[in-house]
């Protein structure tokens, strides 16, 4: 019995030496210089070669990260520290925390108070709808309510309420995915602390807006008069909250917006 144990030990040792030498020699002979960061990144990756990132294994993924075609967080297995370490290797400093920003849909025209001029029959998608008759909503700047932004939101923070997209600020993490989906450019990033908005985005003249929407900003300037200078900015017939220097929430009651376009979001 012992003899075979010894023999196996000899075999393993021999094999180790032979194979080790072969690899060593081959590695020296066929050495190719490559970006050393790739190796460093690869070390941080789990090395399971699971393919979960969509690349063929960890080393391919590491190359993609260094090449800039992938981001470290694409790896479903990596711990957060590794992701951070990888970012450091690449010199991608995570930005210092700023004031949290959330998205808000600057339109108040739902099915009841905004006019739809005709029936729409087509894809249930805002981006497709604007290609057909510019969307059939009377207001050419208002929310179409077909929910493209809601589907784009990975956190289910946008709800379509009666044909109007509404962001739930407590669910919104500020990833900004919805902003580029809106064909009307209605979604804006605002500081989370500001809970007062002018829910209108139409630059048209007051009477024209009034014709198609009962909650449009008609440019009466009541809020502007009641606010301190620069807290509300007037752009033609459209009032805008100055998010860098927001007016106090009480201004809503003080101004008494005739259409209810200036509203607080913390009340409801």
């Amino acid at each position: 019995m012992l003899d075979l144990v010894i023999l196996s030990a000899v075999l393993v040792v021999c094999m180790g030496i032979v194979l080790g030498l072969t690899i060593g020699i081959v590695a020296k002979v066929f050495e190719v210089k490559q970006d050393e960061r790739i190796e460093l990144v690869e070390e941080e990756l789990p090395g399971a070669n699971c393919g979960g990132c969509g690349f063929a294994g960890c080393s391919d993924f590491a190359k993609a990260i260094v090449g800039g075609t992938a981001t470290p967080d694409q790896c479903p297995v990596c711990a957060e520290e590794s992701v951070e370490k990888i970012s450091k290797i690449l010199g991608l400093e995570t930005e210092p925390n700023k004031v949290k920003k959330v998205a808000v849909v600057l339109c108040g025209g739902d099915k009841n108070n905004a006019k739809f001029e005709a029936g729409y029959n087509g894809i249930n998608d805002c981006k497709s709808a604007v290609l057909i008759g510019s969307g059939v909503k009377g207001c050419k700047y208002g929310c179409l309510g077909l929910g493209t932004c809601a589907r784009a939101c990975p956190f289910n923070a946008i709800e379509i309420k009666n044909g109007l997209a509404v962001v739930h600020p407590e669910l919104c993490v500020g990833c900004g995915k919805c902003i580029e989906t809106c064909p009307r450019n209605l979604i804006k990033f605002v500081p989370e602390t500001v809970r007062i908005h002018v829910f209108c985005n139409s630059p048209e003249k007051g009477p024209a807006k009034k014709k198609v929407c009962s909650v449009a900003c008609i440019g009466c300037r009541k809020c502007w008069k009641n606010a301190e200078e620069n807290q509300i900015i007037m752009k033609g017939f459209l009032a805008r909250v100055n998010y860098d220097f927001p007016p106090p929430p009480e201004i809503v009651e003080a101004a008494g917006c005739p259409t209810g376009c200036l509203r607080r979001t913390d009340g409801d």
Partner: protein
């Protein structure tokens, strides 16, 4: 703008107009219409099946259709597509499932088959239009793997000469019988050995051929014209729906005439089987494998070629692709039938070619108009 107020001329009310993308006309076709035409086309062979196998066949068909509809309804609703079950596709899957089973099948096997077909064959992929495999084929294959004995035990028709295709042990020498018994783990042998009721001609006849034990007598029996007529009208053992060749061909031609299916898949499929089996039949030293007429008319080839290989969702879109699909199915069917472990290869061949469909689609995509000026025009 000025409205027409001065006269009694009526103008359209804009708010009642519908806005949609062009085109504003449609030829009136619909998925539901297609599905009901297929159901209609399946009717002749269903009726023939019920006629031959009696109430038992009707029971199997009914269980399959109803359970398919119920599964479709439940799962489509669970996945938020409330109207899916209405389009009739579940009825087709159910009917096909039933038609591919023996009339003596217990009800719970039917239900399991339909569950696999509807849920794993279709609903988990997102319902109609997204399933890569033909649901009925998936259900049937799952059953043949799970219940091999049941799936290869057949009920004779009401009008059959009971001894007609019952395996006749006298055709074989005693040592051959021993040899067969030794191989009875193969899925189709028990029916042979036990002589249970009746085997499908394909199963029973191929066994001796595969073992090289077929005698002149058997070859004679198979190619007898009187028997060919029996295959054609369906007075043979087998599944409920695959027996009557004539009824299936009527249904298939109806679908082709109604432009629901394209002619090239069934034609290339059946044609390949015919050519392939003829070549094999004549190229091998006797006793050879069963000949062309026999291969085409018995077994699930016709129902597969007309109703399953033509399923739009799982087959290539172009004509070229369809022909490749049909030829591939034909070759795989013949290979499995003649040399494989299963007596029937139609379902396997369709599932395998379904798996190839994305690749075929990719290879056979039409040349877009105006791409590559060098190639010849194809008006």
């Amino acid at each position: 703008m000025a409205e027409g107020k001065k006269t009694d001329i009526k103008l359209p009310d804009p708010s009642k107009l519908i806005v949609s993308s062009s085109p504003h006309l449609h030829n009136g076709s619909s998925v539901r219409k297609i599905m009901w035409l297929v159901i209609l086309a399946l009717m002749p062979s269903c009726i023939m099946g019920v006629y031959y196998f009696g109430f038992a066949a009707f029971r199997v068909l009914a269980v399959c259709v109803i359970s398919s509809l119920i599964f479709e309804y439940i799962f489509a609703r669970m996945m938020g597509r409330n109207n899916d079950w209405k389009d009739g596709s579940a009825i087709i899957t159910g009917l096909l499932m039933g038609m591919l089973l023996s009339a003596g099948m217990p009800w719970w096997v039917c239900v399991i088959g339909c569950f696999i077909a509807i849920v794993f064959g279709k609903q988990v992929y997102g319902g109609i239009g997204f399933n890569p495999f033909n649901p009925a084929c998936v259900g049937r294959i799952a059953l043949i793997i799970a219940f091999p004995k049941m799936m290869t035990t057949w009920v004779p028709t009401r009008f059959m000469d009971k001894s007609f295709f019952v395996f006749d042990k006298s055709l074989l020498s005693p040592e051959k019988i021993e040899q067969i018994k030794g191989m009875s783990h193969l899925p189709f042998f028990h029916s042979v050995i036990d002589g249970v009721t009746c085997a499908t001609p394909l199963g029973v006849v191929q066994t001796p051929f595969k073992l090289g034990t077929a005698t002149e007598q058997l070859v004679g029996t198979v190619t007898d014209w009187q028997h060919v007529w029996q295959y054609a009208i369906g007075n043979i053992g087998g599944c409920i729906g695959e027996t009557s060749a004539i009824a299936l061909i009527i249904g298939g031609i109806f679908l082709i005439a109604m432009k629901v299916i394209k002619w090239y898949i069934p034609v290339s499929y059946i044609g390949t089987v015919a050519v392939f089996s003829t070549i094999v039949h004549f190229s091998m030293s006797p006793p050879a494998l069963p000949g062309m007429v026999y291969q085409v008319l018995t077994g699930g080839l016709l129902i597969g070629a007309f109703f399953m290989a033509t399923d739009m969702v799982t087959t290539p879109m172009t004509c070229k692709g369809g022909i490749i699909f049909g030829v591939g199915c034909g070759i795989i069917t013949c290979v499995i039938r003649n040399w494989g472990g299963y007596p029937e290869g139609v379902m396997f061949s369709i599932v395998l070619m379904n798996a190839l469909t994305p690749l075929i689609d990719r290879v056979t995509a039409n040349r877009p108009f105006g791409k590559k000026q060098t190639s010849k025009t194809e008006a």
